[in-house]
Amino acid sequence: MLRIVGRHTLSIVHALGDFALFIGRSFRASVGSRKLGRRIVRAGFEQGARCLPVILIVGTFTGLVLGLQGYYVLNKFGSEGLLGTLVSLSLIREMGPVLAALMIVGQAGSALAAELGIQRNSEQIAALETMGVSSHAFLVAPRLIASLLVYPMQAALFVTVGLVGGSLSGSVLLGLESGTYWSAVERAVESQDVRECFAKAAVFGLLTIGLCAYHGFNAHRCRSATGAQAVSASTTRAVVQSCIIVLAADYVITSFLV
């Protein structure tokens, strides 16, 4: 039993170290990489524009539900006027960066893992290396850098449409004064909350896009499967681990910031 626990612990530590080296190697390789800006813009488009519909839809419905549930709870204490405070702080401090990250993982992260896995299988990554092109700089670094910029922007968008959703359910459906809602939002939100939101989103971006790239890039090292099944297994692992890491990192960051 002890041996099994030890072996698993060692393999987890080894995997974490390998992941950290992968991220470090990618950033180091990006120094002096040619046409990096162009590839960052393309990666930004994949993580940004392509994920826009899902961010807008999920953000709106999250705000609507928060508005309904919040009104129901606050009404019991006669504090409906605090609905704006509840919705805004919930969205900015927690739900915005977390849910936006999960949506981007589902849309862009899974696509990234599958794309890199297929490129590994079809020897495109090996071809880059034989051309003298760093595959880390060409394929991974632009995605990582783009994630540091795009995730906070997507989180901000998610929060914005969520606040509008909260206002819709609070004011339009349940009859709360619109001014009461928005003035509560204005009073509650401080610049520290916004900074925390952006910091969390950037960390989630780096971790999730890093994980998706890592699993896709190393699809050939998958022990349980080969070929197309290895790509499938790597993609699944990338998405599942990304979702877990978002929630775990959220807890760690929050516990330091609160």
Binding site: S33, R34, K35, Q119, S122, E123, Q124, A126, A127, E129, T130, M131, G132, V133, F138
Partner: protein, 269 residues
């Protein structure tokens, strides 16, 4: 001291490579003279592709030396290896083309990433390479929209656009019918002479290799058991060479025996 012109461009000595318990290369050596087309023959699974990938720096050999233009490629010597990669191209069996890039973008990729040429110069050189490979009418097509032969030519265009001194071909005719095999070998021989690069081709197609190559080597059980000209290969009385070279005759004898109703003898006994 050896004259640079007569010294082989690529000198390989005692390559060993194991995958777990399985030794694929067991002391393979080869000299590749400048400006020549050298073909490495061998049965399927003999380790030809592994040998070539060790030459291309895709795989690391466990033991042995690889010298390019007189300088040894050591694992820790990043500068020499970078220089080697700049002067060498590799054609994968699967072509390894980027399916999300057009033909022009595929060819331009190594220039964009490894040179300081302007966008205009990159486009001009890429179009020139496409023209030389008779693909200039397909610049905006994706590899998936091209035939197998066109993909092979596109991969070659990408390989020669950086004007390499050494091009390594991994089973360029695998899975092709005899007519296409001839066409691919003719293409390699034609462009090798036209551009003057040194070529190493691994294949198991004996007749085509003998016609197109300047030198031939035979890989068997992880070692080169023959190295010489095609004429020497044809005249060799070495048992392994004879088995490989005369495999078609052996098939004829086997089929004749089957028709006569004789019991088959296991070949490897």
């Amino acid at each position: 001291m050896a004259d640079a012109a007569t010294e082989p461009l690529l000198h390989v000595e005692g390559l060993h490579k194991r995958f777990g318990e399985h030794a694929v290369l067991a002391g393979a050596s080869l000299d590749v003279p400048r400006g020549r087309l050298v073909t490495v023959l061998g049965r399927s699974g003999a380790g030809k592709s592994v040998f070539l990938k060790c030459l291309a720096d895709v795989l690391q050999p466990d033991e042995g030396r690889i010298c390019f233009d007189g300088r040894e490629l050591k694992p820790g010597d990043a500068a020499v290896r970078a220089e080697f990669r700049r002067r060498c191209s590799f054609l994968f069996q699967s072509n390894a083309l980027f399916d999300s890039l057009t033909a022009l973008e595929n060819v331009a990729l190594p220039l964009e990433q490894t040179t300081d040429l302007s966008d205009k110069e990159i486009t001009e050189r890429s179009l020139e390479a496409l023209r030389q490979l008779e693909l200039d009418g397909h610049r905006d097509r994706y590899p998936g929209q091209m035939s197998g032969g066109m993909q092979k030519r596109l991969a070659l265009a990408r390989a020669i656009v950086t004007r390499p001194e050494l091009v390594l071909f991994d089973e360029p005719t695998a899975g092709l019918d005899p007519l296409r095999r001839n066409a691919v070998f003719a293409m390699i021989a034609k462009y090798q002479r036209q551009f003057g690069f040194t070529a190493v081709v691994v294949t198991h197609d004996v007749p085509e290799a003998l016609v197109a190559s300047d030198r031939v080597a035979l890989l068997d059980k992880g070692r080169m058991c023959f190295e010489g000209t095609p004429a020497e290969f044809s005249a060799s009385s070495d048992g392994v060479v004879c088995d490989f070279r005369d495999s078609t005759d052996a098939l004829g004898r086997t089929l004749a025996a089957i028709r006569r109703g004789e019991a088959l003898q296991p070949e490897d006994s």
